[in-house]
């Protein structure tokens, strides 16, 4: 049989890494069962919000600003992903390809400047 692809390591390591936190968690569960049975109560298992009683639902609506950051992030991140294969091939690229890439980077940089000018990057 041929050797398995080295990328199987990620699967093996993933499985081991999954078991690794489960062992102490299981041990802790065993300890509760044998030595210290849990005694849950309404006060003890309430959420801790600085000692005051929790008011209303915690799953709140978020400020739209977080989403603006996320959208700008998405654009620049995709640009970074495009930059990586370009960078890996850079040493053997002709000058035309490099100029084309420069335009691409400048376009995205211009988008960043636009977002900056519109105040999307201001934390409020």
């Amino acid at each position: 049989m041929d050797n398995p692809s080295p990328y199987w390591f990620l699967v093996v390591f993933g499985a081991v890494a999954l078991v690794f936190p489960l062992i102490p968690l299981g041990l802790a569960r065993l300890w509760f069962l044998v030595f210290s049975p849990q005694k849950p109560s309404k006060e003890k298992n309430a959420v801790y919000e600085c000692g005051l009683e929790s008011k209303g639902d915690s799953w709140l609506q978020m400020k739209v600003h977080y989403y603006l950051y996320a959208i700008v992030f998405l654009i620049v991140d995709v640009e970074a992903v495009f930059l990586i294969p370009f960078a890996a091939a850079y040493a053997s690229l002709p000058i035309g390809a490099i100029v084309a890439m420069l335009f691409f980077v400048l376009l995205v940089a211009e988008g960043l400047v636009w977002a900056w000018g519109r105040g999307f990057l201001e934390w409020k």
Binding site: M1, N3, P4, P6, Y7, W8, F9, L10, V12, F13, G14, V16, A17, L18, F20, P21, L22, P24, L25, L27, A28, R29, W31, F32, S36, Q38, P40, N45, A46, V47, Y48, E49, C50, S58, W59, L60, M62, Y66, Y69, A70, F73, V76, D77, A80, L83, I84, A87, A88, A89, Y90, A91, S92, I98, L102, A109, L112, W116, L121, E122, W123
Partner: protein, 390 residues
């Protein structure tokens, strides 16, 4: 093989020796299992050591002894902490999303361990040589953000949710300059393979990428982003205890909390390892004469320096404000990193020394200009008044 080479390759030889007891069919799988167990064993014990170093170091900085009761000089403190975490009651809030609350620490620790598979910790000592190693590292590393949001959402606590949202905003913002800083190295070495990147820096410390104009700036950018990505002070806003209790960790106790803690340190060490691989020569010795010291000792020595630096910075710098944090990422580090890629390209094509003055002038102008721009946006409220405690 000489004795020096034997010591250098000792982990690999040990692995081969252990594998040889198994039938040929199983051997590659057993080798993988041994690598996985070795990575977990080594870095989990380093985690224990660095918690002790952190508490001792912070104690020294704050003029107190630090842990000194358990064992000689408090050396057994991590062990005591572990036992305490194991037997502490695991409290889950009644209104929490039980499944998410349980899965979050596990989903956090798995990617923080998986990133180590592409880090070369010594000559030939890499768990999985991968042509896209750098990309894989960032791709797996980025999925920790999801786990932090799971923790914040699953806890059903306002402070947790706020902390995790802050953490995500911070981590995605700082990921961009970090990846762009790594792109400069990919440009210079034409490779995404971490082993090739380390080998490109052979010969001595002057061949390391940190000793080029673009490399120095990229290393600084990368290091600042590493601080922010691992939610360490001065970027510990998601866990700012004076504002958010403990952020997404608020509702966690017992060993789940320990897992979060461990993931933070593992992430910190992984990112330091990546910084070493990309910019500081990985396992290469700084001088060719020092090659008799095993390569993995150089890697772990450099890693120890990074961890000490992290602790030192935590003990020294105050926490940033949220708007300062976002401004630093988007309006300072990101433009600098973009400019830096251009300079790295110039460096590669112009064969060295011509690029020095151009890089220094352009980078200097960019840093001073952007710095002044950001200073100008600070709210001005007349003369500053300083009050000192007596």
């Amino acid at each position: 093989m000489t004795l020096v080479e034997r010591i250098d390759q000792a982990p690999l030889l040990l692995q081969r020796w252990a594998v040889s007891f198994f039938p040929a069919l199983l051997q590659p799988w057993v080798a993988m299992l041994i690598s996985a167990a070795a990575i977990i064993g080594v870095f989990a014990s380093l985690f224990a050591l660095s918690t002790l170093a952190e508490r001792k170091g912070l104690g020294r900085i704050q003029n107190r002894p630090g842990p000194n009761r358990v064992g000689p000089f408090g050396m057994l403190q991590p062990l005591a902490d572990g036992i305490k975490m194991l037997i502490k009651e695991d409290i889950v809030p009644l209104r929490a999303d039980k499944v998410l609350h349980f899965l979050a620490p596990i989903a956090l620790i798995v990617p923080s361990l998986l990133v180590y598979s592409v880090l070369p910790i010594g000559r030939n000592l890499i768990a999985m040589q991968c042509q896209l190693g750098v990309l894989l590292f960032f791709a797996i590393g980025a999925s920790t953000e999801l786990s932090i949001f799971m923790a914040g959402w699953g806890s059903h606590n306002k402070y947790s949710l706020l902390g995790s949202i802050r953490a995500i905003a911070q981590m995605i913002s700082y990921e961009l300059p970090m990846v762009l800083a790594a792109v400069t190295v990919i440009l210079a070495t034409s490779s995404l393979d971490t082993v090739n990147i380390v080998e490109a820096q052979a010969g001595g410390f002057w061949a390391w990428h940190a000793f080029t104009p673009w490399g120095a700036i990229a290393l600084l950018t990368f290091f600042i982003c590493a601080l922010a990505e691992s939610n360490r002070a001065p970027f510990d806003l998601p866990e700012a205890e004076s504002e958010l209790i403990a952020g997404h960790l608020t509702e966690y106790s017992g060993f789940k909390y320990a897992l979060f803690f461990m993931a933070e340190y593992l992430g910190m060490m992984a990112i330091s390892g990546m910084a070493i691989t990309l910019f500081l020569g990985g396992w290469q010795a700084p001088l060719p004469i020092l090659n008799f010291i095993p390569s993995w000792m150089w890697f772990f020595g450099k890693l120890a320096c990074f961890v000490v630096l992290f602790i030192w910075i935590r003990g020294t710098l105050p926490r940033l404000r949220a708007d300062q944090l976002m401004n630093l990422a988007w309006k300072f580090l990101l433009p600098i990193a973009l400019l830096n890629i251009g300079l790295a390209g110039l460096w590669v094509k112009s064969s060295g020394w011509i690029a020095w003055p151009i890089s220094v002038i352009l980078l200097g102008l960019a840093i001073v200009g952007l710095g002044r721009l950001l200073r100008g946006s600070r709210p001005r409220g007349g003369k500053r008044i300083y009050r000192y405690a007596d």
